[in-house]
Subunit: 333 residues, 2 copies
């Protein structure tokens, strides 16, 4: 069987087309700010509240842009995805909305809320062991067996373009708020969100510098950007940012990120927990660990906001109560 | 000294004027929904996320509509307000934005976050004992001493009209979402929010029935509506809804509510804590106890959502971490 050629990287126009495709289905999430946080930072911080997106994370956008373009026969055969949880919920929710059967391959250690919601959206969940099994192999086998369409979590032109609508909205909302962006920072796992945003923002706000935020030990994109080639994370690394545990940058996403990003930041879990608490206190948002790393990059000074206008994406809010309470420092009597 | 005549109740046009006055200053908060909650309820539930408003509660709207209309001399003399916390923060924040000195009279048992934020917005805070002192007397004395303007927390035409912009937005956003509202429920303390919303919604969605939600033991408005006259709460009642602890409906607010509301619901604190948890889980919103009572009315079936389309206001999110963790059931190991 011949290998299929690598898909072509999407461009700005694909993000605009994605925005049309998802209009009326995805939430236009607000770009929020807190005068108290601005005062602390000595700059202007704009927070894209993507945790308020349908399914509780930006992943809905890419999933809708991908699945809603399937033909009738493909829809009947269904979709397969593998994901630690947010792409799982996004695909399951879109599939339910469009009447498409969905099978999702999820790790046994995924957060309870992500497993429960994926099932609640009507998807069949197949569990795998993160240490000993390959989710790619399981996903590809299931897709082949069922003639179903595999919906990748990031390395796909329509997925990237869909996530890029976050960047289009940031640009439009910042203009409405008379904010000229010096920088935009987004959480990065496989790189779908930041690469899509980069396609949008490099056209809309060419003066803004674009950065990834990753957990310490999972800063493969930051190190790959510095090295000029895709490098991997050490196997032993641990983080509570369950949404951002991936070994290597995507091929397609990195080809975009290498061209358009200024660099990346690595945040410790304690710093990220502090950002979750700040989002609770100042913005009234529930942000999950992996969703809070870009906010952490701004609040800790990893990116110095002084005198600057900076937008950060809070990319998801699917977090178990105990983890959230611990981040607030309120998990004990 | 002659008593000043009772101010005239505001009307629909005053709410429209308030919307113009606050445009570009207040956040147009999103109207959110969760397919999983809809499925549980067998209806359509739309949640006005007013906890995302500036200062973390709807109170910013009325405060801005009132204070931004003061003349130069009045602005220099400053403003005085008394409040358990959300009106305090709204007034303090607006005063800071407009360069107006502010003194806020707050109870000694106000939540830490509300005291800290009111001070952080630059206001002078004067504490009083809820059991033994009258905040009205202290506020009036301070205002007289400083020739400052007293900014009432609800019984004022401009305050009511400002809060009513929540209702205008609900009507417009529901139309955009193809939702025909059967009912709207809002938390009620003095009645400023629901009376303002009623002015807007009775014009914009005349078919929608309008309800208050109050904590058990503080359902003075519900009982006053039933009795046809203003009745008071028993002195001994307790609730964790600190924003809704008031003895009697306002004169002006009740005159509107009596004319336009269908009735009210009383919710136990455990029911309200359940609504806070649902907002965390399904909507990724931080909602304070007093902000969650209308959501609780929908989720508990106090208002039966089956087959209906219902909007509820989540009116604020200023809650201490320990109280929030307890509502999530995550305050212990």
């Amino acid at each position: 069987m011949p290998t299929s050629p690598a898909p072509e990287a999407p461009a700005y126009d694909d993000v605009v087309a994605a925005a049309e495709q998802i209009a009326g289905h995805a939430v236009t999430t607000p770009l929020l700010e807190s005068p108290l946080l601005n005062e602390k930072l000595g700059g202007r911080l704009l927070v894209k509240a993507e945790c308020l997106q349908r399914s509780g994370a930006f992943k809905f956008r890419g999933a809708y842009n991908r699945i809603s373009r399937l033909g009738d026969e493909q829809r009947r055969a269904g979709v397969v995805a593998f994901s630690s949880g947010n792409h799982a919920q996004g695909v399951a929710m879109v599939a339910q909305m469009l009447g498409v059967p969905a099978v999702i391959v999820m790790p046994t250690d995924a957060p309870e809320i992500k497993l429960a919601n994926t099932r609640a959206y009507g998807a069949e969940v197949v569990m795998y062991d993160r240490e000993t099994e390959s989710r790619e192999e399981i996903g590809e086998r299931l897709a082949a067996e069922r003639k179903a369409t595999l919906v990748p979590s990031y390395d796909d032109p329509l997925i990237i373009a869909g996530q890029g609508t976050v960047g289009l909205e940031i640009a439009a909302q910042a203009r409405e708020m008379d904010a000229r962006l010096d920088a935009v920072i987004a959480p990065c796992g496989g790189g779908g969100l930041i690469s899509g945003c980069a396609l949008a923002l490099s056209e809309e706000c060419p003066e803004a510098r674009l950065f990834t935020a990753e957990p310490e030990g999972f800063d493969d994109t930051a190190r790959s950007l510095a090295a000029g080639e895709r490098v991997s994370n050490d196997k032993g690394a641990k983080t509570f940012c369950d949404a951002l545990i991936l070994p290597t940058p995507g091929v397609l996403t990195f080809s975009i990120n290498q061209r358009l990003l200024a660099g990346g930041f690595a945040l410790g879990d304690a710093e990220t927990a502090g950002a979750m608490k700040a989002a609770f206190q100042y913005l009234k948002l529930v942000v999950e660990p992996g969703g809070a790393v870009a906010l952490a990059a701004a609040l800790t000074g990893a990116y110095d906001c002084k005198g600057k206008t900076v937008a950060v994406v809070c990319s998801g809010g699917n977090v178990d109560p105990g983890v959230f309470a611990a981040a607030l420092g309120a998990d004990k009597d």
